[in-house]
């Protein structure tokens, strides 16, 4: 980061600083586009909600914190924005005010703050062992101070990365996600699942690549343990989604699995895998927002929440289900839709990284999980459009245009970014290479 904007400076170690690097810009663009699209949708969906003023206030405040998080130039700023993003997005979860949603919001808060406290530990150590505070590609640790304390720092690195991964829903801190996302109103669950989980990814990227540095962590037990955890999550999330009937919770489990694809790429510490991870950040945001908006449209128009209630619904809501199907295909990774390319790069990067066992086990798990993804997403579309003989077909009507429009844009995005991915991939490759 060449130019820094200092908002507040207490001492050299404690300052609120912002700066724009490629990574931050990418996340900022993603956040902004998603927030606008979901915002358009929410203006219609609000007819379904109480306390709409409160909802939009916190919707915008969360966006503010996400934008600040993307531009954060040092660990302290990042931690501050991260905590406030949690606190300010929590009211969106308890929007309905039911005992269930309050319990979910509390669970969300507990997990996030537990994770963030571990992240705070990382700040204390980076402040002590760092040569400066501003994020630097290759790491900001001071080799002279680090010498002799490597093992201690590795433990701290593991704890802080695992802490931030609570937001990204990585095992073992994933349990809040399938509870909190389904109880929120559809626009909120769309951004929670699609965008806010990526804030955890951003923090992990910063910590791994720009605080500790890829070379410090490469080949250590920290890297291996994190890869194993992410692979467990990929597989477990898919399995859980496969067995879930409540549509929004099925999508939330899918998020658990898919964000860990991203984390797998991040933990591999290889430019190509990192490129795959960054691509998947964008693709998964688009796709998961599309899926959640589709699920919300069904709830809003026809009050159906369970997958088993959706037989024949595709005939009643052809546009919604069309978009839903396109997004599903993207998430499974069928070319030419978005999602194929990112998984391709993830696998390619992992294979060329050359960690024993993990380098081939990773792609194998990813493949298996893609199969499961097809297993839990496609039946929704198939039964929606082609209900079986003798099945009772659901009644209903198409969603209003104001809700269809963002879904159409997202579905179009899935196609466009899948077919014409090269410029995007080139740009992201530059970002990925600059991280090392």
């Amino acid at each position: 980061m060449t130019q820094l904007f200092t908002l507040l400076k207490i001492s050299d170690g404690l300052a609120i600083q912002f700066g724009a690097d490629g990574l931050g810009r990418m996340f900022l663009c993603l956040d902004t586009v998603m927030w606008i699209l979901v915002g358009i949708y929410a203006f219609k969906y609000k007819e379904h909600m109480k306390h709409t003023k409160r909802f939009f206030a916190f919707y915008l405040l969360t966006y503010l914190m996400l934008a600040a998080l993307s531009m954060a130039a040092n660990y302290l700023t990042m931690y501050l924005c991260f905590e406030f993003m949690t606190l300010l997005s929590m009211p969106m979860v308890l929007q309905d005010g039911t005992p269930e949603s309050i319990a979910a919001a509390r669970k969300y808060l507990m997990y996030s703050i537990f994770g963030a406290t571990l992240g705070l530990l990382g700040f204390f150590f980076s402040a002590h062992y760092g040569a400066g505070t501003v994020f630097t590609p290759g790491g900001l640790l001071d080799p002279a101070k680090v010498a002799g304390n490597e093992s201690k720092l590795l433990v701290v690195a593991f704890l802080s990365i695992a802490g931030f991964s609570a937001k990204a829903g990585m095992f073992p801190l994933h349990a809040w996600l399938p509870t909190a996302h389904p109880v929120a109103p559809a626009p909120a669950s769309a951004v929670l699942s699609g965008v806010i989980t990526k804030a955890g990814v951003l923090c992990i990227l910063r910590v791994m690549y720009q605080v500790y540095g890829a070379s410090f962590l490469a080949g250590t037990w920290v890297q291996k343990a994190l890869i194993v955890l992410s692979l467990i999550t990929v597989f477990m999330g898919s399995m859980m989604a496969y067995g879930e009937d409540l549509l929004k919770r099925r999508l939330a489990y899918s998020t658990v699995s898919q964000v860990s694809y991203v984390l797998f790429g991040v933990f591999t510490l290889h430019p190509v895998a990192l490129l795959g991870a960054l691509l998947h950040v964008i693709y998964h945001s688009i796709i998961k927002d599309g899926l959640f908006l589709g699920a919300g449209a069904v709830i809003f128009t026809n009050h159906k929440e369970y997958v088993s209630q959706l037989h024949g619904m595709g005939k009643r809501m052809p546009v919604t289900f069309g978009c839903f199907t396109v997004c599903s295909l993207g998430l499974i990774g069928i070319p030419p839709f978005a999602g194929f390319l990112s998984k391709w790069y993830l696998a390619a990067g992992s294979l060329s990284e050359g960690l024993p066992v993990l380098s081939w086990l990773g792609p194998a798990v990813l493949l298996l999980s893609a199969l499961l993804t097809a297993g839990y997403l496609l039946p929704i579309s198939i039964h929606g459009f082609f209900p079986g003989e003798g099945e009772k077909e659901a009644e209903g009507k198409e969603a209003p245009f104001q809700m269809l429009f963002p879904m159409l844009v997202l579905a179009l995005g899935v196609v466009v970014f899948g077919v014409f991915a090269q410029p995007l991939a080139d740009a992201l490759l530059r970002i990925a290479e600059a991280m090392f």
Binding site: L14, G97, I113, T117, F124, H128
Partner: protein, 507 residues
Amino acid sequence: MSLVQNVPAFSILLLMLCGIVCLVLPRRAARHLADCAIALVAAASVALLVYFLQGGAAYTYSMGEIGAPFGNELRAGMLEAAVATLFSIVTLLSLMGGRAHLRSDIGRLKVNLYYISTLFLLCSMLALVYTNDIFTAYVFVEINTITACGIVMSKEDGYTLAASMRYFIMSLIGSGLFLISICILYAVTGHLLMSNIQEAVAQLYAQGEYRAPLQVAIALMGVGLSLKSALWPFSSWLPDAHSSASASSSAMLSGLVLKSFIFLMIKIFYRVIGAGIVRTHAVLDLLLVFGILGMVMGSVNALFERDIKRLLAYSSVGQIGYIFCGVGLGTPAGVAAAMVQVAVHATTKAMLFCAAGGLMDASGGSKKFRDIEGAGRRDPYAGVAFIVGTLSMIGIPFFGGFITKLSLVQAAVTVGGWRNLLSILAIIVSTILTAIYYINVLAIIFRAPETAPTKASEKLKEEWKKQVRLDTEYEVAIVLFILLNLAIGLRSDQLMQIITTGLSMFG
């Protein structure tokens, strides 16, 4: 000798004098006199702090110009001035924040006695901060004990009586041990002035004489003072005493009284015994281990508590653990971190106790969780205070609690061996537990009524509306407390500067 150097003696004598005068004044006048006296002492302490900030050196003040070894000495440096400032400001704000409760909790005839106790309490705390004479310290320790029990007992119900008796007994055991320790030191060295004892002790240590008595003296000192400052497991008296007292009393007891003994302990370790000798003694390790246990156990107890004031009291046990953890690390950075925590906890916990008083007012006087549901909405000042307190406890940057954790971890990183690992682990565990129970409180006090309003809740609401008091004093106190917390967070650099310079003047 410049005029400002008289501040230590002036503060102590002024508070004592006003306390005596309060006895014969009408209630209102007594209250105003107490407020003015404390405000004046706060202003004077600030002036003294400014004097040191402008480069004044630490000095010894002989009372009545009688020199050592017979005279009675005060000693002031930057740290003492800063702590005196903190104590007097927090006392004043606590009185303001709990004033409405004082009216209802304390019988009309006891109002004067309450203000006398408060003045003497502050006087004794300042004396403990300034004194350079170990026997004077003992005298003021006793005054402190009696007045502290007095302000607990002033709320007239059987519960406070039992709690304060328990407090009194535990406290007296502590002072007894402290006295025995002083006797041993006097017998071995023949001095009562702190600097003289240090010379004698260093000499004895060099010659290898009287090892055992000195060891015992250090140990008794440590145990006695940690009993009085509620180090876990000596903290069993604290939740009862602090939760049953009136709001201002709880604020002062939790916020200040415990810290005055910790400050005395630091002073005795570093000025009377000498840093080099204390570091070779096992007492620091014990303080560290019990501090760490306190950090965890206080939070665990608070986790299961369903009474807002008892929760805050258990939280104090946990937070006191942080201070002992810092002291137990034994390095100057550790002691500095402990002093930061003294300041942070004094302001935060006093604020929370005052706010808890507000919550109780908004819930028909009950402090049980099931009754204070939604109280943060009815009394927004208390609600905001609890939000700030929670953010500070979680360790959000630019709130006080963050600075404590930062300085404590940075102090812990530099010490070697098991101390380092254990204390950092304890900080993390305790932070997480603290976050959980404070967020739980927030969830309760901001809970919107779930069901249709019942008859009882309607009645409560009516009552609350009727007594919408224009209690500006309480509101001002809460706002000032919040600003103090933020000031510590935002001016942490200057605070650390004051503390480290003060510590270097201390020895």
